[in-house]
């Protein structure tokens, strides 16, 4: 009987400046990006990148402030553009140097950053 790999979680904290280097290392080590997502915190946003190798998870986590810009990992892992555009459209996270930036038109949302009312762009639009 195989071990219960689904119980292995591996949450690894990283900083914004470490992120790109860490992602490059993981890719070189044969890891696959499974998903990335954002969670609204009381202060700022938590971003998580989930990687898989041989059915074991590794989750990179970092916290960013409102308005803080992050370097896109899509130049290293191309398909990350899907998740980065989603995080931008729903939470207002800005990614620099993306391989495919939809400029806020990936999701057809009724209002900007619907899952992050503190976003500055959203406030600016609402204030006319």
């Amino acid at each position: 009987m195989s071990e219960k790999k689904y119980l292995i979680q591996n949450f690894v904290p990283v900083t914004a400046s470490e992120l790109l280097g860490k992602v490059q290392d993981l890719k070189a080590d044969g890891y696959r990006l499974g998903q990335a997502c954002c969670t609204k915190l009381q202060e700022g946003l938590e971003i998580m990148y989930s990687f898989d190798k041989d059915h074991e998870l590794l989750n990179l986590k970092l916290t960013v402030g409102e308005g803080q810009e992050l370097e896109s990992i899509s130049n290293t892992i191309w398909h990350a553009f899907i998740y980065e555009n989603e995080m931008h459209d729903l939470f207002g996270v800005k990614f620099n140097n993306s391989v495919l930036d939809y400029g806020g038109h990936f999701f057809k949302v009724a209002e900007p950053t619907p899952w992050n009312p503190n976003n500055e762009e959203r406030k600016a639009e609402q204030n006319g």
Partner: protein, 359 residues
């Protein structure tokens, strides 16, 4: 270099049951680039976690998809159970596995029908869907529902299925097995069908890994990846081994799903014979505090369920990442170099579920 033209494909197209848009940059009749757009039906279901208690949220997550709804319910429960360190009774795990594999049979039969429709084989489409009805009848008999079952809950399952009914399901599956074989042989051996699939939309093993392909798309390219190998459910006890093909083309993706139909029937038969007596759920007390990432092997591939709580009855975050979401970048790669006439069939071979993707 020939003249370049951009052809919009979707969001409404006869081959697409749900909306996705592709800008196809073509040179003569060959696709040189494809740019995807989604978001036409974004529902924001994850956001409902703020209004639904964690035990009720399973009903919302089941509605992410009308085809693999059971698996979404199980994935959500697995995330919360992992977070709350809940050990599910063995009988519940067997029942979950049986319903999940029945869902795979019904999903793949549905897809085979859509595939037949995509290359213009109407009668094959109808026969695939006729057989799928048999599976829906089995769902109705065991859960009361044909599409949304609501039998999965945090801590186990809501309904038991007696061993006689399970035996009836196995008999029913064995009765239609020969018919399924007759239909699937057409996909595998018919010359006109093979003309549309063999060598079309090849995704190499290296590309599949690089672009993060999941599910039958990855396994058809020779990638050993199946979340049923992670020890969830009772797959270890059933002796599960993933179906792998090497071709990486539309034919291989079809062959993987066909072999998985028969494999799922065998898994159900083994599970129905080995299911132990016992409880089907345990009482779950307290509120979720912490975080957990669960993954399921849905019929279309790996799905993510991330739950985060801080001790209240409402989760702080529920994230669902569905297989189609991950396979869209791989599709974009497959389309490069494809003939324009092959695009509809090629798009269909990732088994796109856009409602899932939009959540």
């Amino acid at each position: 270099m020939g003249k370049r033209t951009i052809i919009p494909f979707g969001p409404q197209h006869p081959v697409l049951p749900e909306p996705i848009h592709l800008d196809l940059v073509i040179e003569d009749e060959t696709v040189v680039e494809a740019i995807p757009s989604i978001g036409f039906i974004h529902r924001g279901l994850e956001k409902l976690v703020e209004k639904k208690e964690y035990a009720e949220m399973v009903y919302v997550i089941e509605r992410v998809c009308g085809i693999c709804s059971f698996g979404h319910g199980w994935g959500y429960c697995a995330a919360v159970e992992g977070l709350m360190k809940v050990e599910v009774p063995t009988r519940a795990n067997y029942l979950r596995t049986i319903w999940h594999e029945l869902s795979r049979v019904h999903s793949h039969l549905l897809w085979l029908g859509l595939m037949a429709d995509a290359f213009g084989f109407e009668s094959l489409f109808m026969h695939c869907w006729r057989l799928r009805e048999t599976i829906l009848d089995m769902f109705e008999k065991t859960t009361g529902g044909r599409v949304i079952f609501s039998v999965c809950k945090v801590g186990g399952v809501r309904k038991d299925v007696d061993n006689e009914t399970l035996g009836g399901i196995v008999d029913g599956l064995n009765k239609i097995k020969a018919e399924i074989k007759g239909l699937t042989d057409v996909f595998i051996t018919d010359k006109s069908v093979k003309n549309r699939t063999l060598g079309v939309g090849v995704l190499s093993k290296e590309k599949a890994m690089e672009f993060g392909a999941v599910g039958p798309v990855a396994r058809a390219s020779g990638v050993l990846q199946d979340m049923r190998l992670t020890g969830k459910g009772v797959y270890d006890e059933l002796g599960f081994e993933p179906v792998i093909e090497e071709g990486g083309d539309c034919y291989a993706r079809t062959a993987v799903r066909i072999r998985e139909v028969f494999q799922s029937i065998e898994l159900i038969e083994t599970a129905a014979k080995g299911i132990p007596d016992g409880d089907i759920a345990i009482a779950v007390k307290g509120n979720p505090d912490g975080e957990f990432v669960a993954r399921m092997e849905q019929p279309r591939g790996e799905a993510f369920y991330y739950a985060k709580g801080s001790g209240s009855k409402f989760l702080d975050r529920m994230r669902v990442r569905t297989p189609t979401n991950q396979n869209i970048p791989a599709l974009v790669q497959m389309l490069q170099g494809a003939d324009l006439a092959d695009v509809p069939v090629l798009v269909l071979t990732i088994d796109p579920c856009i409602s899932c993707t939009e959540r």
